[in-house]
Symmetry: C2
Subunit: 141 residues, 2 copies
DNA sequence: CCTTATACCTACAGTGACTATAGCTTACAG
DNA sequence: CTGTAAGCTATAGTCACTGTAGGTATAAGG
């Protein structure tokens, strides 16, 4: 029987986070000792590891809920899991695109800055004058 | 005299968001009509545009607060604004790195998936077995 | 058996940056 | 003068946690 602290250490999850996952129904309600402390089995550890790994890959808790459901009902086709993963991939690719546009704009901003007084500061000027900024508008509109 | 709705339309900011910016002290408290409605001048419009543009470039509201302070005191050196922008650039670059690691991992996941039953689903397998995943661990640890 | 340190418990507030809702009031055009 | 669009406040909700206060349980050492 594993304590919540052991789960925490073995998965790199904060204790509060584990309790939070239980609260929102992502983890099953744990058994309790006579004194009311949570006790877990290996299966719970695996489930938590699955959740944490999925979170690291950027899946939302809702997506993870779906993935766990699939994982719990192994007879279905895997197409659903595949489509969730593909959706996630698309989102990540979108975010990368956005950030690359930002990066370009920020680079231009700091490259043009000469360390002059604020009056002629290129950074502030760019921020003031949105019209000078094309890349970002196209990507973020 | 501009209404909050006009400001909203001209900067693409939700009305609530403008009120929120006032509440947290990012926008000055607006003048009011006898009936209590907010009225703005051109200067407020520029300030809001500055805030929105900075947000689109990913600056936090705290960073924007600093940038606005600098912008309000034009006699100082621009070095501070420059360093805020550079910090932002570094953060964006970091995020891009992270996301690219995620993308790689997700691509591997969906590429290996054959649409079989859940039992042998590669997506779920990868999520279950964190040890198979090296890239992400290196980038996100 | 008793003490003590550590781990655990609940309940609630806070984070960032908004967004949404309910229920009301004002401004302005016709 | 009336209708309606737009405004107002106050409050709660979003996401995924994180932190805190104040109390209790457990396990190891004496």
């Amino acid at each position: 029987m594993l304590s919540i602290g052991t789960l925490s250490r073995r998965t790199g999850t904060k204790v509060q986070t584990i309790r939070y996952y239980e609260e929102i129904g992502l983890m099953n309600e744990a058994r309790r000792t006579a004194g009311g402390q949570r006790r877990y089995v290996e299966k719970d550890l695996h489930r938590l590891a699955f959740i944490r790994h999925s979170r690291q890959l950027g899946f939302s808790l809702d997506s993870i809920r779906e993935l766990l459901d699939l994982s719990d009902n192994p007879s279905q086709s895997c197409a659903e899991a595949d489509s969730i993963a593909r959706r996630q991939l698309r989102q990540v690719e979108q975010r990368i695109k956005r950030l690359q546009a930002l990066k370009k704009e920020l680079k231009r901003m700091v490259a043009d800055c000469q360390g002059d007084s604020v009056v002629e500061c290129k950074v502030l000027e760019v921020l003031r004058d949105h019209s000078a900024c094309l890349t970002v508008r196209r990507q973020l509109g």
